[in-house]
Amino acid sequence: MAITSIKNLKEFSTNNDRFEGAHTLCPGCAHSMIVRELMNCTDDNLVISSNTGCLEVSTAVYPFTSWDTSWIHIGFENAATAVSGAEAMHKARKKKGTLKDNDAPVKFVAFGGDGSTYDIGFQWLSGAVERGHDFTYICLDNENYANTGGQRSSATPIGATTTTAQAGSHSYGKKEKKKDMVAIMAAHGAPYVAQLAPNKWKAMAKGFQKALETEGPCFINTVSPCCTEWKFDPKDTIGITDLATDSLMFPIYEIIDGHELNILYRPKNIIGVEEYMGAQGRYKHLFKPENRHIIDKVQQDVNEYWDYLQRREEARI
């Protein structure tokens, strides 16, 4: 059952707390906000799986665990498959009547970072979604392999510097554009796909609830600013997220049944990507005269994508 009262953040944030605060994520990491919000938006029993990554290594270091619900981690790539196996077992045992409580509703959720979602676990996620398991996959997208010290992933935006796509005297950082994972998952025909952000917490809670209530595989890409690798002050996480959503670097929208696109947040004052990039150390080199053209290119891409989203929303196709 979904929690209906999402009007008051204080009340919501302390509701039904099944994710303990004593984890070792960096101060200022958005992962825990997103995870807590998911777990607080439902009263149903939760089976959660996590790919290897920051969330996993920071929340289940033996003999401790932050998870006051069923939780499993296998490897870097297979959280979607682990949870689909558990979901299949739930079906089998429900049929046979061997569950402790045969009628209690159970939701299945997988978490992965962008490295495990966009790159190494891409096939496992695609397979689980194609098979139609009843689960929600949430990507905690911080646009790099933060757990191993900031390497590029296919979610890293063009122009960002990472330890494996370095900016230097002959390089402006990563050369390739970010993979459009939301579109790819929508193309799977998943019944609910969305991109959400922790600064727009009401929209995020509603999106999570929609995904959990939707039967079948759902995919949500969440923006999770990484103070350590994006290089900003840990106290500014939500401020950076505001810049991300208001510059439309991360538009907030959902796609239902692979085609019905709804924009969930329209900034009153759209800001330039320059303001968003200027607030982070990973883009610092782009402000040199020889790299300025990359900022212009990103702005152009963002404008075009926003235009595309609005046209799709309007066309209802």
Partner: protein, 411 residues
């Protein structure tokens, strides 16, 4: 409630069909699988039993073997009976998750239809995949024919799910020679088979929300070693439980299994130690040689490859003069792995028999009775000379010039 399946007292089944019937009778809850030759029919059959109501289970056809074992891990942690099958490259792709399954102490039963590992690509049987699993923390049982593939699969559920064991179990059979050869198989009735296996009794059930569980935690230098040591101890401690379950199985089937099987070993002077279908070839050769030439030949076969029956291997071979250990896997720049293990066991005996190593049958190359006889005769020559008279490691049945390595310093 599952539909009734008609069984004859004697069936003609190949090894794959036999294994799948064990899965049906054990009423496996979830099979997550990916097809690969020659193991595919095992999971195809499971799917068809589900489709026709003979099993109340879920058949999850995933997109790779890595995902197959990942799905099995998730399903097993969710508190039910889980099984799958694979071979060769599929086994190799699964390997990462095999270690995770055993580390989480999940009693998954994996039917491995042994097949060579590429490159070059080869679909025929050798033991490269079986060897690849030997450090994975799984119990490994070895069937030499279709009957045993069925019997051992039933035993595997009992062993793995035993609360003092809680380990995953592989049941190996040889690709094609066992998996695709129709043989007489005497199945148990559904009732007797299910009662032997028993209901699944979950431990640390992810679907029991009154007691949340965390699977797959992180440990570093502070606790990892203790976890791995306990896992090794659990494997070692499973030995008497495997013996008990084999004894129980004899009560319901009349068929007796031992972790080490000895044939004609009471007075044997020379012996072959082998795995898989080769055991039956060597047994015929030993019998014929005894009748034809009076050579006291015997065969020692490993039924339980992991945990390795170090003491039983030693005890069964300590009075023999010369032993040939047959490795059906490319040794990759060393003595055969099986040879090394048997030799280590024999090193602790007072008389230390001579031990030689044969690499044979790779990629499904036939291993004949006459070749087994030749190997026995060579052992007899070593025994008579009192030392190894050939290279210690030799390739058997290889085209072209002789290939062998290392000589003894005992002669």
């Amino acid at each position: 409630m599952a539909e009734k399946y008609d069984l004859q007292e004697r069936e003609v089944w190949d090894g794959n069909f036999a294994a799948s019937q064990a899965l049906r009778q054990a009423q496996v809850d979830v099979v997550a699988a990916y097809p690969i030759t020659p193991s595919t029919p095992i999971v195809e059959n499971y799917g068809s039993y589900v489709a026709n109501g003979y099993i109340d289970g879920e058949f999850v056809m995933v997109e790779s073997e890595h995902a197959a074992m990942s799905g099995c891990v998730g399903a097993s942690a969710a508190g039910g009976r889980v099984s799958t099958a694979t071979s060769s490259q599929g086994f190799a792709l699964m390997t990462e998750v095999l270690y995770q399954a055993s580390g989480m102490r999940l009693p998954i039963v994996l039917n491995v239809v042994n097949r060579a590992l590429a490159s070059p690509l080869n679909v025929r049987g050798d033991h490269a995949d079986m060897y690849l699993g030997r450090d994975s923390g799984w119990i490994q049982l070895d069937a030499f024919n279709a009957q045993e593939a069925y019997d051992l699969a039933l035993c595997a559920f009992r062993i793995g799910e035993h609360h003092d064991v809680r380990l995953p179990v592989m049941v190996h059979q040889d690709g094609f020679i066992t998996s695709h050869t129709a043989q007489n198989v005497y199945p148990l009735s559904d009732e007797v088979a299910y009662n032997f296996v028993g209901d699944f009794k979950p431990v640390d059930d992810m679907l029991d929300f009154s007691r949340p569980v965390t699977y797959g935690a992180q440990t570093e230098e502070d606790w990892h070693f203790e976890h791995k040591a306990r896992q090794h101890k659990a494997l070692m401690d499973s030995r008497p439980i495997i013996d008990e379950i084999f004894a129980d199985f004899e009560k319901v089937s009349g068929r007796k299994y031992n972790r080490v099987e000895s044939y004609d070993m009471e007075d044997a002077e020379v012996a072959i130690v082998a795995l898989g279908t080769t055991v039956e070839t060597a047994r015929v050769a030993a019998k014929e040689l005894r009748a034809e030439e009076g050579i006291k030949a015997g065969v020692v076969a490993i039924r339980c490859f992991r945990p390795f029956p170090f003491d039983m291997v030693r005890d069964s071979l300590e009075n023999v003069k010369s032993v040939a250990v047959l490795d059906r896997s490319s040794p990759g720049g060393a003595m055969g792995a099986f040879f090394n293990e048997v030799s280590a066991a024999l090193y602790t005996t007072p008389n230390r028999p001579l031990v030689t190593n044969f690499i044979y049958g790779l990629g499904g190359r036939d291993f004949s009775i006459s070749e087994a006889k030749r190997i026995f005769k060579e052992q007899k020559a070593h025994a008579d000379a009192g030392h190894i008279t050939t290279d210690i490691q030799q390739f058997s049945g290889l085209r072209g010039p002789h290939l062998g390595f290392f000589q003894t310093k005992r002669g």
